[in-house]
């Protein structure tokens, strides 16, 4: 927790909205690094994020904002249909959540907005389709928690601009219960989508997921389900998506995250999308100041060296390394 003007402002907002908060957790991070991808060549990347969360007696609030930018030096830049000798790409995301906890039932309202804006470099290259993409959404969750299981119902509404833009109205229902060291999560998702070109679709996805928390710093999660999509002309398509992720802390300074996503079209069992990513982050140092008593300034930080590698069926591979500093 940081005691700075930013934190003080956050604290005031929280107090004015929700009364005296019980706990708050502010995080600020900044990162810079280099990356190389088979699709767009070498690039320099930079980003920053801020997030804060307040826990009150009944209400809690969380907000987050982040932005990133990349300079590509290769022959192509993502999101652009013609070749540019180099280019700038940036995005920004803002989100806010408000939740109320009343006994075993909790309600959650979440709103978010996102801006992805590819821009050409000021004087180099002719670029078209560099229109920013906006997206926004809101959801309302009703969660019932009992000692043995948890169930939720979450309607959502989202919108996205751009060539593949449209509106989505969805309803997600799910549950979770413990089975030994496994957390089993059955669920179903219903979504109606209307794209800006006038086409529509309705999809239903019953699925099953699990997470394994074995009691040492290692965790695995996976989920799958059958997605059936109905189009207005009466045709249907079936897809079997599969996701798995793996997390581990090795020793005191190495964090590992790996994920695999597959999309398998049925009935031919053809792999239509595949994505794999790994990130290994080395903690280079920890620093901070611990106050002597309650209310005294306390903050801590970490300097990390994240390295990532991704493989995508459509976009090829990319790899990167950078430095990240985070305060909390």
């Amino acid at each position: 927790m940081i005691h700075t003007p930013v934190h003080a402002l956050s604290f005031l907002i929280s107090v004015s909205l929700f009364g005296a908060p019980g706990l708050s957790a502010l995080e600020i991070s900044a990162a810079a690094g280099s990356a190389w991808s088979s699709d767009s060549g070498p690039a320099l990347e930079a980003g920053a994020a801020i997030g804060d969360e307040f826990f009150g007696r009944v209400f809690s609030a969380r907000y987050a904002g982040e932005g990133s930018a990349a300079w590509y030096f290769g022959d192509a830049t993502p999101g652009m249909t013609t070749t540019a000798s180099d280019g700038f790409y940036g995005d920004a995301l803002a989100s806010a959540e408000f939740s109320a906890l009343t006994g075993p039932l909790s309600n959650l309202v979440k709103v978010y907005g996102k801006l992805e804006s590819p821009y050409p470099a000021s004087s180099v290259g002719a670029v078209v389709d560099s229109v920013p993409i906006y997206s926004a959404g809101a959801s309302l969750a009703f969660v019932l928690n009992t000692f043995d299981f948890s169930v939720s119902l979450e309607p959502r509404l989202s919108w996205q601009s751009g060539n593949s833009g449209g509106k989505e109205l969805g309803l997600n229902s799910g549950g979770s219960f413990l089975a030994g060291e496994f957390l089993v999560k059955p669920g179903a998702d219903l979504a109606w989508m209307e794209w800006d070109d006038g086409s529509e679709s309705l999809s239903l996805r019953p699925g099953l997921g699990f997470s394994w928390y074995p009691g040492f710093p290692f965790s695995v999660s996976a989920d799958s389900g059958l997605t059936r999509t109905w189009l207005p002309d009466g045709t249907t398509s079936d897809e079997l998506p599969f996701r798995a992720s793996f997390y581990a802390a090795l020793g005191t300074s190495i964090l590992v995250k790996a994920a695999v996503e597959l999309g398998i079209a049925l009935p031919d069992a053809e792999v239509v999308s595949a994505f794999g990513s790994t990130e290994v982050s080395f903690t280079l140092g920890r620093f901070g100041r611990v106050g002597e008593g309650d209310g005294e300034s306390t903050w801590s930080g970490e300097l990390r060296l994240p390295c990532h590698f991704t493989l995508d069926l459509d976009d090829g591979w990319s790899a990167g390394v950078g430095l990240e500093v985070a305060f909390d």
Binding site: G22, L23, S24, A25, E27, S29, E53, S60, R62, L93, S95, P104, Y112, K114, S135, V143, N145, T146, F149, S150, S152, S176, F177, L178, E181, L183, S211, W212, Y213, P214, G215, F216, P217, F218, S219, S221, Y247, A248, A249, L250, T252, L255, V256, K257, A258, V260, V271, A274, G276, E279, V290, D294, S300, E302, L311, L313, G316, W317, A326, D328
Partner: protein
């Protein structure tokens, strides 16, 4: 397309296999606290007396010089309500490690002082489980040797006054010890501020989470940290939701919600 697919499968399988081996090594050799919690000190020698142990052949020769002082330590331990088997366990451990007699005696004196403090702290709170205290004292001593402060132990025990569902001292102290070892295991990987650690321990003790599930929080912290959350934020999250009666499912759900971006 097929080439990329094949590469993806090869790289992913090789990487996951390497990570699995490294994680297994890490688990087996580096996660001492979790192992200690899962496997409390050997109790096979708990009923052996010091006289019997020193009456053995090899031990008598190597450690006979400290026999009288060890018997005196055992007498002091008995005044605290603890059995001499606790010292026999340490004697066995020391002799197996071929520790010289003088050094072993120093270690036994330290252990006796620790065990007496533990017994005093438990007795002062009416939590001394008569007849069942040796195992708990050994476990608590292990935690103190791993870096737990006596004041942290005492504060965590104070929280048990609110555990009205547990009628006898044994399950209360067991819950506290599991919460302490979980917090220490998390702290060993993801350093926590002293105040946060204490709040986490108290929140776990008073939570609705069964103590057998506490260990899963170590995995949960690893997941949150690998996904970019700070340990202080993870800690605040667990404290808040555990204190408000949340189960492990609820805490996991809240974590997932924070990791996922829109």
């Amino acid at each position: 397309m097929i080439g990329i697919r094949s590469k993806l499968a090869n790289h992913a399988s090789t990487f996951l296999a390497c990570l699995f081996v490294i994680s297994l090594f890490d688990f087996l050799f580096l996660t001492n606290l979790v192992q200690a919690q899962a496997q409390p000190p050997a109790t096979g020698t708990a009923k052996r007396t010091i006289a019997v142990w020193f009456g053995g052949t090899e031990e008598e020769k190597k450690y006979g010089s400290i026999k009288n002082e060890v018997e005196l330590l055992a007498l002091n331990l008995g005044f605290s309500g603890l059995g001499e088997g606790l010292l026999v366990d340490r004697l066995v451990e020391g002799s197996q490690k071929r520790i010289p007699a003088e050094k072993l005696l120093v270690a036994l004196k330290d252990e006796t002082r620790r065990l007496q403090s533990i017994a005093r702290i438990l007795s002062e709170r009416g939590l001394f489980p008569v007849g069942e205290a040796d195992g708990l004292a050994a476990e608590a001593s292990l935690l103190l040797r791993a870096g737990l402060g006596e004041s942290e132990f005492a504060t965590a025990l104070d929280a048990t006054a609110e555990l009205v569902d547990l009628k006898t001292p044994l399950p209360k102290v067991q819950r506290v010890l599991t919460a302490l070892s979980t917090a220490l295991a998390i702290h060993a990987r993801f350093p926590l501020e002293v105040g946060d650690r204490q709040k986490l321990i108290t929140a776990l003790v008073l939570s609705r989470i069964p103590r057998e599930r506490f260990g899963s929080l170590v995995s949960l912290f690893a997941r949150g940290k690998a996904s970019g959350m700070s340990q202080s934020r993870m800690c605040a999250l667990v404290i808040e939701y555990a204190s408000s009666g949340a189960t492990m499912e609820r805490i996991e759900r809240e974590l997932e919600r924070r990791i996922r971006t829109p």
